[in-house]
Amino acid sequence: MSTGIDVLAILAGQQTMPTDPVRVKAVIDCAARAHLLASLFSHMRPHLGGKALDVAQNASIKAEADARMLAFEAERLQRIFHGTGMRIILLKGAAYVAAQHGFSVGRRVSDIDILVSENDLLAVEKALRGAGFIPHAHAQSVYDQNYYRNYMHELPPLVHKHRRTVIDVHHRLTPRTSRISVDTAAMVAASQPTAGGALYTLAPIDQFLHAALHGLYDNSFDTPLRTSFDLFSLWSVLSAADKADVFCRAAAIGLEVQAHGALDLLCRLGLVDRKSVPARKSVAGALAYARIQSGIGAVLAHGVFSVREHWLRMPMRLLIPHLARKLGLWLREKVQAGRQSHQ
């Protein structure tokens, strides 16, 4: 059994922490690499002592700082968009905190993601810039700006000039060029106001489907354990009616394949009983599961996966010039570095 699968089972409450110190260390190191340490400890703090308690405290202080950042940035968004009538939908981590999901306790985050209507996009960008957000240093070149605007599904990332928090503004859930066509408008229409009422989150069932899309078919599978834990958690908070409706809703918004992939993965991981959901066996589910396992299977899956991601995100005629340009830049840097070292 791989350590990653043990970590997920412990997080899901289906397994207890091992007692053998060597296994304990392996589980803790694995959870730390996956940014799940604070989550792992959040429901076992009372049972910890010694060095494990030190490590748990350390992880939870950092995770509390992350949660504070998300809550404050959400408050800032309310202030910035107050009275504009624009619907600002929080995605991913910011949405989980706003919805006060128990599993958001201890979840490490770095960026804030929001979804807005395409018609509002320029007004949203203007308002954010007026409130101190500036283009991120990583995306300041004209080429990068055009790349994001023309081919991707988001504005170039913005960073707050004082707080250094990064915000990604999306107006669709997949790139313009992606072969997956999602009915973003239907998901926006079903979005629900947060407890305060001024911001929105996707409907719970759509949050699960979006996590399936983003986690298994987009580019975020660098952290397979965390993606799996998010999917499991989002699935667990769904009502029985939502669970029964999941493939129907998925078909309606164009995410049926993704719904099967996510549930197939959860079944393979033993987190969901395969008898309880009619999930088809899926390529993405199998690949994701292989990545969580250790050994050669993981290495193969890794390689296959990264090819798939890019292939899904961009048609080949766009992909090749993009890669060629990146390669060209890289080569130029190397050549310059070589020249400098010979001077």
């Binding site: 309310q78 202030r79 407890a195 305060g196």
Partner: protein, 94 residues
């Protein structure tokens, strides 16, 4: 005219001679406030106030005349407190 409110329960303060350190539990930020900025926050903490009320009341709180302050200074401080999330217009909160 904007009416301002604040969140006094989120603030932890430590007073020194010419400066107040204010910790904001919501943002996790520590702010160093001048006596004037701190007094503005104090006035709004008592009850929400409009910009014009604050422009009248702040000089009074220090026993000064309104024209002792440079033009626009109080407006600037209000804007800065707004940008830091310490003041906000009534109706923008959750």
């Amino acid at each position: 005219m904007t009416v301002w409110e604040t969140r006094p329960d989120d603030f932890v303060r430590q007073d020194f001679t010419d400066v107040v350190f204010l910790y904001d539990r919501l943002s996790g930020d520590t702010h160093a406030l001048s006596p004037f900025a701190s007094a503005l926050l104090g006035l709004v903490s008592e009850a929400p106030k409009s910009t014009s009320e604050l422009i009248t009341m702040l000089p009074q709180a220090f026993g000064l005349a309104a024209d002792d302050f440079p033009d626009g200074a109080i407006n600037t401080w209000i804007d800065e407190l707004d940008a830091l999330g310490l003041l906000r217009p009534v109706g923008t909160s959750a």
